[in-house]
Amino acid sequence: MEFRNLKLTKKTTFVIWVLIIAFIIAAPSILPVFRLNLLGRYLSLAIVALGVDLIWGFTGLLSLGQGIFFALGGYCAAMYLQITSSSEFPNNIPEFFGLYGVDNLPFFWEPFRSPIFSLFAIWVIPALVAGILGFLVFRNRIKGVYFSILTQAALLVFFNFFNGQQKLINGTNGLKTDVTQLFGQMVGSESIQRMFFWFTALLVIAAWFFSKWVVKGRFGNILIGIRDDEPRVRFTGYNPVLFKTIIFSIAGGLAGISGALYTVQSGIVSPQFMTVPFSIEMVIWVAVGGRGTLLGAILGAVLINYAKSLVSEALPASWMFIQGGLFILVVTALPEGVLGWVQGEGPRNLLQRLGLKRKIETYPSLEIKNETEGLKNE
């Protein structure tokens, strides 16, 4: 796979951000509650997409298992909400335990009574799991397709395990959050959901700044170096295993935050978060938006999902075809994603084909003078 590095110009980034922020601020007053909730969910998916861009767009690690970390974050949030809202149920434990005749709370639920612990667990647990999994894989120099297959296999293992644990986490039914209480109100209520929308919007922006900080400067350059020529990085004295483990762990943490926000806004977390297609979709959002651009990941996640819900309402069952077509279009015609196309020669070429713009007759970027000076002056 050929990667070209896209650096969005400051101007483009600024314009896109102004649009995004203007839209976010306007959304609560122009969108009906239902749509606002959907937008909030899709904004939370933008955070997992940022992580996918960090590991795939920058470091070249195509993970098909981000759903693991996404779901872990979701479960952490749901467990906190369930345990703190279970006072009226028998034995003071979440209601579903009664269905399976469980009287005592499983030990790992206990710490989730603490809001502080839970707030940390949402991102620390997925980051730790990603770090451990990543370290074992990277230490053995598993990369490329083998890495992708391995992450997908890990995803299936987690999916099947969570599916089967009725007595621990309600198995395939998942944990509901919309009827739980937060700040004395129902989590599914309009005011709490509106708060989550703002919170998600802020966290998307924070996650973008954080990702930007990670990839700017030498650390990001070494990630790109690992993506393009890992042995060369090794022979320069860097240990790629550590760099890859760190970035994979960061992506895991972002996925956890994303999963928690998605859970509280959709009202339930279940092993469905760990199905194979969902994790592949995350990669598609980034591919369509433009990998290695960060902003493309956000746009891809939000716009594709929004389109998905609009299309599914109008033409049920047609979305899979559209999504497949979109992916093929990007792979064949827009290998750098939509943002890459806009940033590159795309719009100019399109205008030319439509006869709206004259062709350039020379190569303005060629520096004829410098080319020949090169080594000869030495």
Binding site: R218, I222, I224, V233, T236, Y238, N239, L242, G374, N377
Partner: protein, 251 residues
């Protein structure tokens, strides 16, 4: 153990076998500090495997490698690089998506731990070093161009500069003039010559004119073992060498 205190690198009875095929066969080689050494040999003689063994890419089936008195066997590539072994690859391997400056930043940055890299800004003396290196290879004007946009010769030189930026005690240079013009070849030979003395340099190549210009000791490899060592003149008059290498038309 290493008896000769003058030697920077010594390979002792190194054998490498790839599924029964002996790429290196009982190879012995010793390098003094500050020496410039050329290694030549026909295709398949084991030249690149020889570098792979020193840099930790390939584990020898037998024998030991000592660098500054320490055995290198069993050490990871990046650890060996940090000990002071730098390597330039056969085809220029620079990071094409990064600029010339970013490439050099990666090479001069120390310490190379991820935490240092992400938390701290590059040090001022390292920036000075980059500026100096860019003057050496005459790419000061291209500081912010993508390395992928450089010409082949410029990439070769950038990679040599990256090697210098690592401040290695031992530089292993694999075919530095492949694909260069005659003029660039001469400049490269002069550059490598000027580096020896402060650095210990091993150059691998089959370009005879280039090797002659280096004016150094030459080791001839054949079938995984050192056939002959000496000055270019000694080598060229050696019967065995003529038989296996010089006598045959070059590939």
């Amino acid at each position: 153990m290493n008896k000769d205190t003058n030697s920077l690198l010594s390979l002792e009875n190194i054998s490498v076998s790839f599924e029964g095929f002996l790429a290196l066969n009982d190879l012995n080689l010793c390098l003094k500090k500050g020496e410039l050494r050329a290694v030549i040999g026909p295709n398949g003689a084991g030249k690149t495997t020889f570098l792979d063994v020193i840099t930790g890419k390939v584990k020898p089936t037998k024998g030991d490698v000592f660098f500054k008195g320490k055995s290198l066997i069993g050490r990871k590539e990046h650890k060996i690089a940090r000990l002071g072994v730098g390597r330039k690859f056969q085809s220029p391997r620079v990071f094409e998506n990064l600029t010339v400056k970013e490439n050099l930043e990666i090479s001069v940055s120390t310490p190379k731990s991820p935490l240092n890299i992400i938390n701290k800004k590059i040090k001022n003396d390292q920036l000075d070093e980059i500026e100096h290196l860019m003057k050496v290879i005459n790419l000061s004007k291209k500081i912010n161009s993508k390395a992928g946009a450089l010409s082949h010769g410029q990439k070769q030189w950038l990679e040599i500069a990256m090697l210098l930026g690592q401040k290695p005690d031992l530089m292993l240079v694999d075919e530095p003039v492949a694909g260069l013009t005659d003029e660039e070849t001469d400049l490269t030979a002069d550059l490598l010559k000027s580096l020896s003395g402060d650095n210990t340099v091993v150059v691998i190549d089959h370009d005879m004119e280039f090797i002659r210009r280096l004016d150094s000791n030459v080791s001839v490899l054949n079938q995984g073992t050192v056939l002959c060592e000496g000055t270019m003149d000694t080598i060229q008059n050696d019967k065995k060498v003529i038989d296996v290498y010089l006598g045959r038309p070059e590939e």
